[in-house]
């Protein structure tokens, strides 16, 4: 494949990942255009998280190509390099730094020189504090600024992680199950927030919550057993026979 021919922001071709013979991803192919928001659905164990692991360098595929911006081969890079390229990730199980304050969590995520010596010379700057303040406002955590992240509720941690994702200023955001554990109102707010983010960034969001996916109103890809079984609008996908079979067959 000549990787330069694709204009897609993210291009997965024929990606296979097996764990002890079990294929978590089975010749998965997927293209996401720049500026797009894509929702990924699929039953438990479909390989959604594994797909994100492959994109972010956590898992190396046995086969296939993963290309970012038509030029970066992600299979040859590690997590740090991929993050530096501009791919940010929110984990399925919210992972924040429990022993750091909410503010420090955002500070650590803030786009800046990541090298060790930069960390030694770092000084608190007005601009950074303003940005953190702004982010706290966006994810509605102003009142929790000084609290240890470990003491936040599940939903608040989800939001903090989204805040950290924004702080990184990535080009592509991978968001794994952002509304798990959220109330209806919070779910709605999250959808609004993601739509807002999508005005400037490419977003891939994995979610089980159909109301939420419907609210996003974007192209949907359904995975099953590590491969794409349907793609289209939410209505097209939810009427697809294979999809119905897969969801009801369980």
């Amino acid at each position: 494949m000549d990787i330069r021919t694709t204009t897609a922001q993210l291009y997965l071709d024929n990606v296979t990942v097996s764990f002890d013979g079990f294929r978590a991803l089975n010749a998965l192919s997927l293209t996401v255009e720049s500026g797009e928001m894509r929702a990924i659905i699929g039953p438990n164990g479909a390989g959604k998280t594994t797909m994100m692991d492959v994109i972010t360098g956590k898992t190396r595929p046995d086969e296939g190509d993963v290309v970012f911006e038509g030029q970066y081969d992600l299979t040859a890079r590690d997590e740090t390099e991929i993050a530096t390229l501009g791919i940010g990730r929110k984990f399925q199980k919210p992972t924040v730094f429990d022993m750091h304050s909410v503010e420090d969590n955002l500070l650590l995520a803030l786009k800046a020189d990541r090298r060790a010596f930069a960390g030694l010379q770092w000084r608190e700057s007005e601009a950074q504090m303003r940005r953190i303040d702004e982010l706290l406002g966006i994810v509605r955590l102003r009142g929790a600024r000084e609290r240890l992240a470990g003491s936040l509720s599940h939903g608040q941690k989800q939001w903090l992680e989204i805040g950290m994702l924004l702080a990184q200023e990535p080009k592509l955001l991978l968001v794994d199950e952002p509304v798990a554990g959220m109330t209806d109102a919070e779910t709605h707010q999250t959808a609004e927030l993601l739509k807002e983010i999508n005005r400037y960034k490419t977003v891939i969001v994995v979610e089980h919550d159909m109301t939420f996916v419907r609210e996003l109103g974007v192209k949907v890809t359904c995975l099953h057993e590590g491969a794409v079984i349907a793609e289209g609008t939410i209505d097209q996908v939810s009427e697809n026979e294979r999809v119905i079979e897969v969801y009801l067959g369980r």
Binding site: A83, T84, F97, M99, L108, R114, L120, E146, L148
Partner: protein, 383 residues
């Protein structure tokens, strides 16, 4: 509130530094200036004993930096301590000159005894203090760098890392036990005469060594404080609690670990170098895996991730050890130490200083809640 927290922490750090610097001045003064009959006179053996504890405290500090703040549990830090000690010992050996038993102008006694004709190349330069001082930080530093380079790059963590650090110190011990290794075999290096031209046995020298140990402890503490209160330190804690997450944020965790691990080894080397002239000997038993484990226990007792706790733990446990091993209970010391470790793990997992500062923070958080009129919930540290 964060500013306040930092300021109050700084108060603690300042108080700690003041105590250490005051000890550096007052103890030698009480030893040298007061007559022996005075009730305030500090005998020389106490000065040396506490000088030794202060060196242990510096070792504990170096362990706390990597274990408490970065989650690297090294069970081989005694090796870096011993290497620094050997570097100092080599300098001291070469100061003996013709005053050795065999009165050889260049070769230390053990080499004459082994019928060696000339000084091995790795002993060159150790007659100069400046060179020895360089080696005191360089040798442990380079070993830690090389070790860390391989270990952290291949992402060896947790218990596996602890095991290979144990293996490292054990291997070094076996090496140093051998006569042909060139470091005096199982007798090690001893019978020192002078340091920088002063008699190592003299009261004034011992007092000066005590003061130097305190000053290096203060310096080590300052370096650690500066490090852990910078953004670098925040990244270290992030690596400790969720290493993978820091990588996804774009941090190269292994570089951070390599840096603190190497720095910590250099600190341990300095501690060992200050220790040797005060105890008068360095031998391969300093590499014993048990020594490294003991040092980790000091930190656990005092409170990991607190710095001051590491110092306190080292001094308290060693004071207890001295008290025990000079009494009738001497054979049971290891049981006491083991029991202490279990008790701390079960009942005082934050250690002494950690528990106190946690309690203090809780109390203040409660105070703030009481003082609040509605509004946001008060901050509460997580468990």
């Amino acid at each position: 509130m964060n500013g306040l927290l930092i300021r109050s922490l700084d108060r603690g750090a300042t108080a700690f530094l003041a105590i250490v610097v005051a000890a550096a001045m007052i103890v030698p003064a009480l030893n040298l200036l007061l007559p022996e009959t005075s009730p305030l006179h500090v005998p020389t053996y106490i000065v040396s004993l506490f000088g030794k504890y202060v060196c242990y405290a510096l070792l504990a500090l170096s362990i706390d930096l990597i274990w408490g703040y970065c989650g690297i549990l090294s069970l081989g830090h005694g090796a870096f301590f011993a290497l620094g000690g050997y570097a100092m010992g080599m300098y001291l050996m070469r100061q003996i000159g013709t005053r050795g038993v065999y009165a050889h102008p260049v070769l230390p006694d053990f080499m004459v005894f082994l019928n060696w004709k000339e000084l091995p190349f790795f002993w060159y330069g150790f007659d100069h203090f400046a060179y020895a001082a360089l080696m005191i930080v360089l040798v442990p530093g380079v070993l830690a760098f090389v070790f860390g380079w391989f270990a952290f790059r291949s992402r060896v963590t947790g218990v596996y890392l602890s095991i290979i650090t144990q293996a490292m110190t054990f291997a070094l011990m076996l090496g140093f036990f051998r006569n042909n290794f060139g470091f005096g075999g199982n007798n090690g290096l001893t019978d020192f005469k002078d340091i920088l031209g002063f008699n190592v046995q003299a009261d004034t020298t011992r007092a000066a060594l005590f003061a130097a140990s305190c000053l290096f402890l203060a310096l080590g503490f300052l370096v650690c404080r500066a490090l852990v209160s910078s953004k670098f330190g925040k990244v270290l804690v992030a690596i400790r609690d969720a290493e993978a997450r820091t990588r996804f944020l774009g941090y190269r965790a292994e570089s951070y670990k390599l840096f603190v691990f190497t720095l910590s080894a250099c600190m341990a080397g300095v501690a060992g170098a200050l220790y040797v002239p005060q105890v008068g000997i360095i031998n391969p038993s300093e590499f014993a895996p048990a020594n490294s484990i003991e040092a980790v226990i000091w930190v656990a007792v005092g409170g990991r991730g607190t710095l001051t706790g590491a110092v306190l733990g080292a001094i308290l446990v060693n004071y207890a050890k001295t008290t025990f091993t000079t009494g009738a209970l001497a054979p049971y010391w290891l049981f006491v130490l083991g029991g202490l470790f279990i008790a701390v793990t079960l009942f005082l997992p934050r250690g002494i200083v950690g528990t106190l500062s946690h309690w203090w923070r809780e109390r203040r958080a409660r105070g703030e809640t009481a003082g609040e009129i509605g509004g946001e919930p008060a901050p509460r540290p997580a468990e």
